[in-house]
Symmetry: C2
């Protein structure tokens, strides 16, 4: 089979694009979107052909770049957004240690005792991650509770006042303004300062754990709990913060992708654990999302961090709430205990639960489809920060208005006695009664969910629940993807709990009020079905819900519901997180290669030709290769340096762009005439200090004389990179790549000569579509 | 560095040994202990040297062989047993698909829909595994409950009768005889028919999931739940049973190591899930023990099987117990619900729990050390089945006698009213009272554990608990390793619960009966500490105990206790399972290479020289290589067949012994003169039908003419075996090997020429000992 040259699509690119990128290269904010971050070792030749049927316009992220540079575009509205595209702007993380001489010398110097110290440090860091994540969760909980309490009290007083006097429109205004102003603050921060903080952070963490470097994903900033945990972990484990410009000179051993990722896993788990009081669920979340190459010790540490996080949260909150040391209600979002005696289920209900799973799958697919169109709309038309802030404020105000109108129109009055409503709104109800619709809208969503689960039968009017589900569904769908830090978990649970309870009430009507039809139980299943239908997680979600309800026996029906919802939902459209990852054109590697991809071999998948370096190379050549903005390779095979022959030579090792840059920066080379002189020695520390933000090649000055010097790469290259023969099938290559967390995989022929290179993008572009194997096109941006 | 030739130790081997082995080769019972199962591709030369300090006597399993063949030995008692030895009798499983042309053709023929069918089949099999495991658990539960009930009723009536009349020694005799006769039946089955069924099965399943083929480990037989689940899984997934000689002609696609192992994981998880009502714990058990290379879909299936298993068990047992469809008490061993309100813990108790962990670690280490000496004794002196049966009966009788004497001597009477004792023995107590010591001994251990957890304060006399702990500790230690199917889980829990409760009672004396010192809580922590100190599992055990108690908040202290117990215990001696694995000289691969092994490279680790085959090879050569009993390689690198040169040639592929045997059996070769003729075509089915018990080479007749034919391996070899360069460090080789579940890893030089081969034994022999890196010697047996 002939080698197939890789194609990349160029069309009508504004020349200023490249200027923008190059300008961006030197400013920290744009770091990672510039050319320095594109692509693995791959040569892109604009002249290479396009396969028929492939779209040629690839300016996917033009909008984003425009957003950053605020330059007028000639044709911003004509850009078709296309998810059948893989962006090259995302770098890969490298979980394979570069086993060069420096590394081996250090590892050999370290004795057994020192390794134990390193191991103890890992545990200490995990404990710190757990404690800090728990504390952050406490802080968030207390602030949210107080702010929400303040808001609801103010609005309630106002409504109570104006109910009598008339002029409730003023109350509406007050509520909408309060909502909008709070959202404005959050939105401005996100839109103008840190765009990665938008959304729930889960897609970003998914990508990071998968091995994709999302710029700024673990830099200091606020965000929902999972993301917070990850950020804390990245900060602590490196013993420094680039955002705060502080280096504590500790934990330097952990300054590499491998170690950092392990800690981020622990942080994400601690975040889930704190949010739901689900330490095991947290561990499984981390495993489900990231761990293709984990081990027992790592899992223990992750579990340790999770446990500490829940424990810290519990201890502090128990003190704050006055009942010190009562550690029985873990988690920010506590579903309340489901008692098996009161709310058991029978085997006859299993088909009903499965039916609810089907409903959840369909509703979830609808939610995702609507959100997809909305996201496309946003990408096309709402890319200025000010527009984004206005949209966020608009959503906040509309939410308040819809809530208000619904409450106003509702005639569902319930006796106030014996109910657990925090802010009962009397409105037009009789004395001693409250408006039931208000409990749903006029409450933090976390509390509303618990109320829907646990309020006794008869607390809600079916009409109220139906209207609430309908309105909240669309509002939540509109909210997800706004430029605020907000997730989809709680809204999904709330929607699901509402229609689940409605379903339960209908059932009890049908069955003439049988004892088994407790609507709370159906609210729980509905919540699981809706959440499962939207995010399509199963294992970790089952465990999270089991732990949040504190009931093991509910595990089986919850799992059934989640699986049904996933299968049904997958039939229509992808999960919400996967959809957003795909819309960002992230080269995400799934668990396995597409099942029908055995027909492809490494020969067809790999990028070729590969830019190789000789073992003893001219400095000028290295600089030129690194400066070549059209290729931007990150890893270079090192071949035997035989100056007398021009033929392809045997593979000797692999060296990374980052390593070359450190070598050039420290002037590690000798004059050609003095090749016998010893090069300057570097230490591993020099590489670690530069991690993770290595300077761009443009910032390193190499004089004309220095260009003629020679650089000996033997000591710095990885002498044993993983290789595959050309005949290896795509699934085989994929397995090796995924299991070891590789960034570069060299393809060699029978004589160990380099014939190609496989990087993450080469594997991620093959996908199983509706009509079989699909191939995504690659985009430079 | 010079290549280090591999050594194997031979000394004073009875020539009949080899005859035994060869004879065994053709009988199914001995399959796997004969020469066909030894070693990877490695040449053992008896002339190779021994390093100083290495023991030269390696006839570890002589005893076992003797046990099987019953031949008199000249010097059976002189054999020093040595755990610094690695046996070559264990084959590896192969989790790397041989990607030869046949395989690729099949995979390419299968379209997307067919893959979906395969996937659905996997789920169906997992559901069946879950259901069957659950049913087996039910069966065991009901039988044990009834048998034990019968036994206790008979003995109780007898004791009640003779307490008045005098002559209790007859009751003692009755009890001891009953115990001994039940144990005799079990022991005879194990000792004479299926020796692998001895013990808990957990070490064997650990090894299997690790990738070691333990003969008969998943053949049909009875055994504790974890093992039962695994056996069921192996049986169902292959669609046939070799023990029962039935082939249902279904699930043929799954007849390979990769698929089978996945199902066995699910089976083991289902077993744990059924035993403890801990579906998540079951999944984590499988992951903790086996999964270095798992993925999400597999984990889901494992979880599914676990859930189904608990659910089945629950449903059937709820019907059996009359309260149909009450699914709230999952698991055979139910710890009873620990209610947070009644039995909460405070932060001040954490140090106390940690102290209990320390105690558990020390006691566990003591238990293991004693059991170690006992096992050594057994290996040396008790190797005849009749002796083993007698020992088992002796232990059973002594257990009854000790229990009887303790009950007899006890003067701890408790009021019978309000207690939950199943078989209250009055003995010399006043009317309306029962003997408290009898509740501990005169009960199934499962029930005793629950009683210790939940009986109200004051139910037990400290003296009673102390004596019970002491006696039970030694009895349990003596019992583990007998030739009966019996685990260590429940006895450990019981010992720990007893001393934990004692500890709790002492605390409440010290603290003048403060409310927080509920002895049941300390019984739970003691049980965790003791079990952790013995088996040294942490993550899965924490989750299992969390699920068995139905209480999430206890997770944190249980984890602390388990970790402390593990750290303290590891300081003294290994975990019980690991110890037994090591005593069997199993080449077990841990999670990571020893930390200080960076100084070793593939060059030093690999076996060399390697027996290679040419791509077109003479049949006679193949037969000779396969028949060479001194080497018994299982995988052969295939090199370019250039008849004109004798130099080392480039690697082209890898072929397995099993594949060659199938080729020879089907006469897939052509005459040398007719090389252009097409060889007979084989189908993948021909290989699958022979799996997993390929015939030995001796059973295949190859005539002298046929020996001169040529065999073309191109179509059958794996053309892209994984390789490493000689410079790769041991941790790097280890990671590749472990992450992909390899069996053979070819070491090549810079020109892709074969220089060595790394197999499981080459990696497993490096171990971190007390004084740094240790190297085990290899033994042919």
């Amino acid at each position: 089979m002939a080698n197939v040259a890789k194609k990349v699509s160029w069309s009508g690119r504004d020349p200023r694009d490249d200027e923008d990128e190059r300008a961006g290269e030197t400013t920290p904010l744009l770091n990672g979107t510039g050319p320095g971050s594109a692509g693995g070792a791959r040569q892109f030749t604009p002249s290479s052909f396009l396969r028929p049927g492939q779209l040629s316009n690839v300016d996917l992220n033009e909008d984003i770049r425009e957003l950053e540079t605020e330059l007028p575009r000639p044709y911003p509205n004509e850009i078709p957004h296309n998810e059948k595209l893989l962006s090259l702007k995302y770098e890969s993380l490298d979980y394979d240690n570069s086993e060069n001489q420096l590394f081996l010398e250090e590892e050999r110097r370290i004795n057994h005792a020192a390794f134990r110290t390193v191991e103890i440090k890992r545990w200490v860091i995990c404990a710190m991650i757990g404690i800090l994540t728990g504390l952050v969760a406490c802080f968030i909980d207390i602030v949210v509770e107080n702010l929400a309490g303040l808001k609801y009290r103010v609005v309630k007083d106002n409504i109570d006042k104006f109910t009598e006097k008339g002029g409730l429109s003023f109350s509406l205004l007050l509520w909408a303004t309060l909502n909008a102003s709070v959202v404005m603050v959050g939105s401005v921060i996100v839109a103008f300062i840190e765009p990665v903080a938008a959304g729930s952070g889960i897609p970003q963490i998914k990508c990071y754990l998968n091995g994709v470097k999302i710029p700024h994903v673990v830099r200091l900033k606020e965000g929902p709990m999972i993301h917070s945990g990850a950020v804390i972990a990245a900060g602590i484990s490196q013993g420094r913060s680039t955002s705060l410009k502080r280096d504590f000179k500790i934990f330097e051993y952990f300054r590499r992708d491998t170690e950092k990722r392990d800690f981020v896993s622990a942080g994400a788990a601690a975040g889930v654990s704190a949010a739901f009081g689900a330490p095991v669920g947290g561990v499984l979340f981390s495993l489900e999302e990231g761990a293709s190459f984990w081990n027992q010790f790592l899992t223990w540490r992750i579990f340790f961090a999770s446990m500490i996080s829940t424990f810290t949260l519990n201890s502090v909150l128990s003190v704050y709430h006055g009942n010190a040391w009562d550690l029985s209600s873990p988690g920010l979002i506590n579903f309340g205990r489901f008692d098996s005696e009161k709310m058991g289920y029978t085997i006859q209900e299993i088909p009903i639960f499965i039916f609810m799973g089907v409903v959840g799958g369909i509703l979830g697919a609808l939610f995702n489809a609507l959100n997809y169109w909305l996201t496309m709309f946003r990408i096309r038309y709402i890319h200025r920060p000010c527009l984004q802030v206005i949209e966020a404020m608009l959503v906040a105000a509309v939410t308040a208005a819809v809530g208000f109108v619904m409450i106003y129109c509702s005639r569902d009055c319930q006796p106030i006695q014996g109910s657990s409503v925090a802010y009962p709104l009397q409105l037009f109800c009789a004395d001693g009664e409250y408006n039931s619709m208000a409990t749903a809208f006029f409450n933090t969503p976390e509390k509303s969910v618990v109320n829907l689960f646990h309020d006794p039968p008869g607390s809600y009017n079916p009409m109220t629940l139906g209207m609430f589900t309908l309105m909240y569904f669309f509002l939540a769908c509109w909210t997800y993807g706004l430029t605020v830090s907000a997730g989809v978990f709680i809204p999904s649970l709330l929607i699901g709990a509402a229609w689940g309870r409605l379903f339960g009430i209908s059932l009890s009507y049908l069955s003439k009020g049988s004892i088994w039809a407790d609507p709370g139980k159906y609210a729980l299943m509905g919540a699981a079905a809706q959440l499962g239908g939207i995010v399509r997680m199963t294992l970790s979600l089952t465990v999270i819900m089991m732990e949040a309800t504190g009931n093991v026996t509910y595990g089986f029906p919850i799992m059934l519901v989640l699986m049904t919802a996933k299968i049904v939902g997958d039939y229509f459209v992808e999960g919400l997180y996967d959809m957003h990852i795909q819309l960002q054109s992230v080269p995400f590697l799934h668990w396995e290669a597409p099942v029908t991809s055995h027909s492809l071999t490494a020969r067809e998948v790999m990028s070729t030709p590969v830019t190789c370096l000789r073992r003893i190379e001219r400095v000028g050549t290295v600089v030129d290769i690194l400066s070549d903005t059209s290729s931007n390779h990150n890893g270079f095979p090192v071949v035997e340096s035989n100056p007398n022959t021009t033929q392809v030579a045997g593979l000797r090792g692999l060296i990374l762009r980052s390593q070359l840059i450190v070598l050039l920066k420290h002037k590690v080379f000798v004059e050609r005439a003095n090749l016998n002189l010893v090069q300057r020695r570097l230490k591993l520390k020099d590489f670690r200090d530069a991690y993770p933000r290595f300077p761009p090649i443009q910032s390193i000055h190499v004089s004309q004389d220095e260009r003629e010097c020679m650089i000996d790469l033997s000591e710095f290259m990885n002498p044993s990179p993983y290789t595959v023969p050309q005949e290896a099938s795509l699934p085989r290559v994929f397995k090796l790549f995924r299991a070891l967390g590789l960034r570069h995989l060299v393809v060699v022929n029978n004589h160990n000569e380099v014939v190609g290179m496989v990087t993450r993008k080469d594997l991620a572009r093959y996908r199983l579509g509706k009509e079989g194997l699909e191939e995504l096109s690659l985009a430079q941006t």
